[in-house]
Symmetry: none
Subunit: 199 residues, 2 copies
DNA sequence: CTTCGCCGTTCCGTTTACGGAACGCTGGCG
DNA sequence: CGCCAGCGTTCCGTAAACGGAACGGCGAAG
């Protein structure tokens, strides 16, 4: 349980799976196909018709829907565009928001902003009461900004933590080890903004 | 026009968006590649390292980032998974969400949180330079919380405005007339959190 | 019953995305 | 200096995704 942080790095810190794990790439192959098929049938379109409208081969669309092919981005876009939905609609279900979880912290990525000088990632974060969670240092210059909605949060560098209640705002540079913990027995709701300066 | 504020109600009143606003289709190969590259670089990873971690060839990742290849879903998934972001983060922002526009302010509703005592609405807000924008008073007890990502923002009650730069945070009670304006000629990017107490 | 049109799947040759192995470049070090 | 380690790009043979053209199945019309 040492995947500690709500940040994406948490995933990376898992040392490695050398195994090129391709079996689980099927995560999407079948699921995406089923979703595309559902979207098509909702509209009363036949496979042949959609293939023609989208400008792809029937074999391609058939294989895509059945999960027997591994579509390219171009193919997927041609199909979803013709269905009138954004590509993301085919990739993630109605409410399948991707979440990073740790011992105490559960964070959902809402937005990624890319600016000239920095990249921002905006998360909605929940911190469960009872246990704390530590995160190792990030790259130099990275800062974290937390706005608390509910509960009492203690967060920041391990040697100088900060606290905030509803409406409160915290900020620290996260190039040192830092942690998150809920004070009391109420779950903390907050937004977490990470700023990665361009290097 | 008289809907000056990014007030949430306006957004919610959109009854039905038949058309899932398409504008943000970041679906061409070049844009996706640039996003992946940004995500990689903000983590301080080299192309070679990421390719090895993700179990894809360097040639594949190079071509993907440069937009000279048309990646497979499997490839894209392997890379984004290793970056710790959902596939949708590389393809675009979150699915089309209602946007409220005014003279200077453009706000996109990201999330709505319903608590026992209050409702929160989280927006991504942009304030164009050159012109300001006023908003009439909200109901009593409503508070606004702004975190600035980029630019210099002046906002708050018209008779006592506050200012903040990148990383800065503003808070005021919005049951009085208040306004937003960018200082200088740089567009302001910020997150806006509105808190509506239960009545 | 036969014919027709359209359905979704399968076959097949072509195109191309794939990974591994080069390549040239740069920066650190003895 | 040369050497080396790591960077990102390019080359190349292979695997597979591609579109077009078959195929069998099924309901409606003749």
């Amino acid at each position: 349980m040492e995947s500690p942080t709500p940040t994406p790095q948490a995933a990376r810190e898992q040392p490695a799976r050398e195994q090129p794990a391709r079996e689980q790439a099927a995560t999407d192959a079948g699921t995406v196909g089923a979703r595309v098929r559902a979207l098509r049938e909702e509209r009363g379109l036949s496979l042949s018709t959609l293939a023609r409208l989208a400008g792809v081969g029937k074999a391609t669309l058939s294989g895509l829907e059945n999960g027997t092919r591994n579509p390219t981005l171009e193919t997927l876009y041609a199909v979803t565009a013709q269905l009138g939905v954004p590509l993301t609609a085919a990739l993630s279900g109605p409410a399948a928001t991707p979440t990073v979880r740790g011992a105490a912290v559960s964070a959902t990525l809402l937005e990624v902003f890319t600016e000239a000088g920095a990249t921002y990632e905006l998360y909605r974060m929940r911190v469960a009461p009872g246990v704390g969670q530590l995160s190792p240092a990030h790259q130099p210059g990275v800062t974290e900004h937390v706005t608390v909605f509910a509960g009492q949060l203690r967060a920041g560098p391990v040697d100088a933590p900060l606290t905030a209640g509803p409406g409160g705002h915290l900020r620290w540079t996260s190039d040192v080890p830092h942690g998150y913990a809920a004070i009391g027995d109420e779950e903390v709701w907050a937004s977490l903004l990470l700023r990665y300066p361009r290097r």
